[in-house]
Symmetry: D2
Subunit: 292 residues, 4 copies
C-alpha cells in the first residue's frame, strides 16, 4: 500500500466534526459535502493522514477506512450486523486466510464483506439471499472494496439446501434459522463452526431447542454490549445513549451423534459452560510436555 493517494484508492475523508465520507478516488469526480466541494483529482499524491481543503477552505483528513468505518458507511437496507458483533463472530467461526465460509442471508453484506476481507485470496465466501434487491446492494458494497472475487453469490431460498459441502464455517442471519439446520449440517465439515444471530428471546428459545436435539455440540448463547465514551479529556464519560441490543449470537459445532447420545443429552448439558477463565489448570500445566 502506498503512503500517498492514487486513483482507485478507497479513502475516508473526515472533517473535524467527525462527519465522514468514503469514496473511491476517481478521475474528475468530486465530493460535495457540508464543508464544500473537493475534486478527487486534488487527492492524488496527498499523504494519508494529511489534510486537504475544500473550495471553502475547510479541511478534511484523508484516511484509510478500517472495517468499522466501512461497515458504518455501507449502503444498507434493514438491520445490519454491527462491528462489535462482526469481529467476535469471525473469531468464533475460526475465520482466517484460506477458510471457506458460507452465510445466509446476504443482507446488505456487512458480514459478507468481513468474511471476504479475512479469508484472503486463498479462502472463499458463499453467500445466499433470496431477495434480488438485497443481493444487488451487497454486490455493490463488495465491488467497491475489491472483494467480489472472493464471494460466490446465490440468489435463492435456502430451504432446498446449499450447493457447497465441507465448508469450515456457516452463519445464518435469517428469521427462522431452525428450519435450515439439516441443510447447514449437510454443508459443514465435521467439527465445523455454526453461528446464527437472532434478535428476540422467542427465537433464541426455538433455535436452542432445535440445536439441542440435533447433531450439534458446544452450544453457546452470547451477546455483546459495546459502551462508547465521550473523549473530551476533562469530562470523560460513557455516552448517554448506547445501542442496547442488536441480537443474540448463537454458536455450535457440527458433530456426529448416535441415538443413545441424544437421549443422554439433558444430563450432560446441565454442566455450566466454561467461563472465560479456564478452570482447567491441569491442562495448562500439561502443555509444556506436548510437542508444539
Amino acid at each position: 500500500m502506498s503512503d500517498t493517494v492514487n486513483f482507485g484508492d478507497v479513502v475516508m475523508l473526515m472533517g473535524k466534526d467527525r462527519r465522514s465520507f468514503i469514496r473511491t478516488v476517481t478521475p474528475d469526480a468530486r465530493l460535495e459535502c457540508h464543508l464544500g466541494v473537493l475534486e478527487h483529482n486534488a487527492l492524488v499524491g496527498v499523504r494519508y493522514g494529511a489534510q486537504v481543503r475544500t473550495h471553502l477552505g475547510r479541511k478534511l483528513f484523508v484516511l484509510r477506512p478500517n472495517h468499522d468505518d466501512i461497515i458504518r458507511h455501507l449502503q444498507r437496507e434493514g438491520q445490519i450486523i454491527y462491528p462489535k458483533d462482526l469481529g467476535y463472530i469471525a473469531l468464533k467461526l475460526g475465520i482466517r486466510p484460506g477458510v471457506r465460509a458460507l452465510e445466509a442471508g446476504t443482507g446488505s453484506g456487512a458480514l459478507t464483506l468481513t468474511l471476504a476481507m479475512l479469508v484472503g485470496d486463498e479462502g472463499h465466501v458463499y453467500s445466499y439471499e433470496r431477495r434480488q434487491r438485497m443481493q444487488s446492494r451487497a454486490l455493490t458494497n463488495l465491488r467497491r472494496f475489491g472483494l467480489l472475487g472472493r464471494v460466490t453469490f446465490h440468489l435463492r431460498d435456502i430451504a432446498r439446501g446449499f450447493d457447497e459441502t465441507g465448508v469450515d464455517a456457516l452463519f445464518l442471519d435469517v428469521r427462522e434459522p431452525w428450519d435450515f439446520l439439516p441443510q447447514a449440517r449437510a454443508a459443514l465439515r465435521g467439527g465445523g463452526f455454526f453461528g446464527a444471530l437472532v434478535p428476540t428471546i422467542n427465537q433464541v428459545m426455538t433455535l436452542v431447542e432445535h440445536l439441542y436435539r440435533g447433531p450439534w455440540f458446544m452450544l453457546e448463547v452470547e451477546e455483546l454490549l459495546l459502551r462508547q465514551y465521550k473523549t473530551i479529556p476533562a469530562r470523560i464519560r460513557p455516552d448517554d445513549q448506547m445501542v442496547g441490543h442488536t441480537g443474540y449470537l448463537i454458536f455450535a459445532r457440527a458433530v456426529e451423534r448416535d441415538a443413545e447420545e441424544q437421549r443422554e443429552q439433558l444430563a450432560e448439558t446441565e454442566a455450566d459452560h466454561p467461563t472465560e477463565t479456564p478452570a482447567d489448570d491441569e491442562d495448562t500445566q500439561e502443555i509444556p510436555a506436548v510437542t508444539g
Copy 2:
C-alpha cells in the same frame, strides 16, 4: 484441511462435561485426563466431529479449535486480552491478510496469535516484550499453532523506539502507554491505526490527555461486555456471574497536524462522536453515484 485427523494436527478434545484439551497429535504421545487415557495414535484417521473413547470407555469429541478455544487454552502468565476484545481490536485496527502490525508488550501472546492468524503469509507481526520469560511463553504458544514464521519477536524495552516504520497498525498493551506515543507515531504510516488497552480509569484519563494533544485523530474510548447464557432449553438465562471488566479499549488514527490545529482542538472534539447508526444519510444517498 483434511476431514480426518493426521499427525501434526492441533486438535481439541472435549468431553460432555465441556472440559477440553488442546493437543498437537504426536506419535506415541498420550493424553491423560479426568476421563481416562487416550493414545494420540488412536486419533489418526478419526473424522473431525466424531468421538473417541478413553481406556475407561469415556467419550471425547474430536474438534478443531477456533480462536476462542485457543485463547482460552493459552499458556498464560498474568492477564491476557480476552476473545471478546480480540475480534473487535482486529477489526478496528484494519487487520486482514497482508497487513503489517506491531504490538507491545507481547505478554502471553493472545493478541500476537490473533494478529498472526489474520495477517496471513503476506502480512507480518512485530512484537516487543522486555521480559524474557513472557516472550518464551508466547513463542511456545505461537509455535504450537504454526504461526512463528509470521512474527518477529523483539526482546527489549520500547522506550528507545521501534525498529519498524510504516506499519499499518500498532497496539500497546503496556502499563503507561502514553510514554510511548511519539515512538508509536514514528512507527505508524500516515493514517495508521493505533490501539491500546488499559484496565483503570486513571490510565484512560492520562492516555486520552496525551493523545488529545498529539498528532492523533478520531480518538475513541470503548469497552465490550460479553454476556453468556446457560443453554438448557427449558431454562435459558444469563450466567449468574460474568466477566465485568477486562480493560478499556482506546483507538486513534495517526495524522499530521500543525500548531494552529492543536489549539483549535478543544472546540472540534466537543462534537459527539458518531454512534453506530450513521447519521450521515446524505452520504449513504450519494454512494450510488460513485464508481465503486
Copy 3:
C-alpha cells in the same frame, strides 16, 4: 436514634478488611470473629462511627447497617432478591409509608424486609409462603430488625387465592407466576401495581403472554445490572467479576378491560414503551397551568 450504642441496637461491626458482622447488642453476649473476641457490653455507649477493639487489639468500626448491609447478611436459603433490584421494585410498586403490599413467596424475606421497612407503621405487608422452613427463616430475619409487627405471614399455597383485597401492590417471586394472575388481580385494587421476578427467558415469555391477554396494562420487562468498582485511588476500575444476572423484572398495572379491548390489544402494544426520557414535552409544558 441515639448517637451512641445501646442494648437492643442492631449494629454492624466491620474490620478494615471489610468483613462485617451484624448483631443485636445483647447483655453478656459476645462476638467471636477472625479478629478476636468482643464483648457486647463493651459496645454500649460507643459513638456510632467510632472503633472498638477486640481482645487481640484489632479494631472494628461500629456502624448502623443500611438496607444493603442487612440484605447481604440475611440468613438465606436459595436465591434472594438483590439490593440492586429491591430499591427499584419498591419504587415501581409505589411503596411508601401507608401502603398495603402483598408478596408471594416469602422466601428468605429480603423483599418482605424491604417492604416492611418502607411502608412504616401505617402500612402493612402480607407475605405468603408454603414452605414452613422458609417462613421460619424469614420470621427470624424480620424479628431481628423489629419489623414483625408490620407483616402478616401466611403459610399456604397461593393457588386458592389471597385473603386480602384492595392491596396497593403485589409481587410474585414464584416459579410459575402466570398460574396466579387471576388471584393477583382479585387481590389488587383498581390501577394497583403488579410485579414479578423470574430468572429465565422461558418464564419471561410465558408470563408476558398471560399478562398480555388479561386485565393488565403498562406491561414492562426490565433488568438491572450493577457494576461495582475497585476504589483504590490510583487504580480505579470495575471489578473483574460481576453479578451477570439475578432475574428479569416484570411490571404491570391492574386495570379493567372488556372483550373488545382484548382483541384490539395487539395493535396498541406495538407502540414502543416510553424511554426514560419522556418524549412528552407537550405535557411538561402544560404542567404550570395545572393547580398542584
Copy 4:
C-alpha cells in the same frame, strides 16, 4: 386511599399509545391532549383502573402514578437523577420512615421527592440549592404531590456549610462534591450514610481521592444499567437503544479516624470490597444464637 377518583387526587391518564399525563383533579379544569378533551369533573367517581373517554371518544386509563411515573413527568431543567438510581440510592442511604436526610443541590427535585415520599411524616428532608429558578421548580414539583411539609428548602451556596447536624444521610449532586466533604461530615451523625452522583470518570477520581484521605469508610463506586425490553409476546427483545449512562454512584460512611489510621489506609483498602454474595458464612451460621 379511595377506590374512585376524588377532587385533589393526582391521577395519571394514559392512552393505549402509552402517552401519559399526570394531573391533579381540579373542579372545572380540563385536559387537552392528542386524544381530545377531558373535563376533570368527569373523572370524579371513576374507579381507578377503569377508562374514561375524551370528547372524541378516545379512551384513557385512569391510574395512580408510582414514583417512576412521577419522576418521568417532573418539570425538569437539566439532568435529573433517574428512577433506576433513585431506588438504589434510597436503599444505600438507609432511607425509611423517620429518617432525616439532607441533599444538595435540589435540582429539579427528583431525589427530593423520592426522599420526601419515603421518610414519611416522622422524617424530614433538607434540600440546598443556590439557583432560585431550580428551587422554584422543585417547590412546584413537591407541592403537586403534597410533600412540601416534609422538606425544608435552603437557597444558598453550600460552601459555608449546612445548618443541620446529626442527619442520618446526606447526598451530593453537585459538580465538585469534594469541595464540600468537611461540611458533609459535620452535618452527618457518626456512621451516617454519604452518597454522591457524578457523571465523569474525572470526577470519580477526584472524589475517591478526597474520600480516601478523610474520615470516611466503606467507600463504594457503583453504577446501574437498566435494560428495558419490548413486550410484544411473539417478539420479546431488549430495546434497540438504551440509556448508557446517567452517573456514577459513590457511597461512604462517616466515621472517626486518627492520624495513624490515615497512614495505614492504603493497605487496608487493597482488600477487594465484598461482592453481593457474602462470603461470610460463619456469620450467617452464628445469627440464630443472637437474640433478635
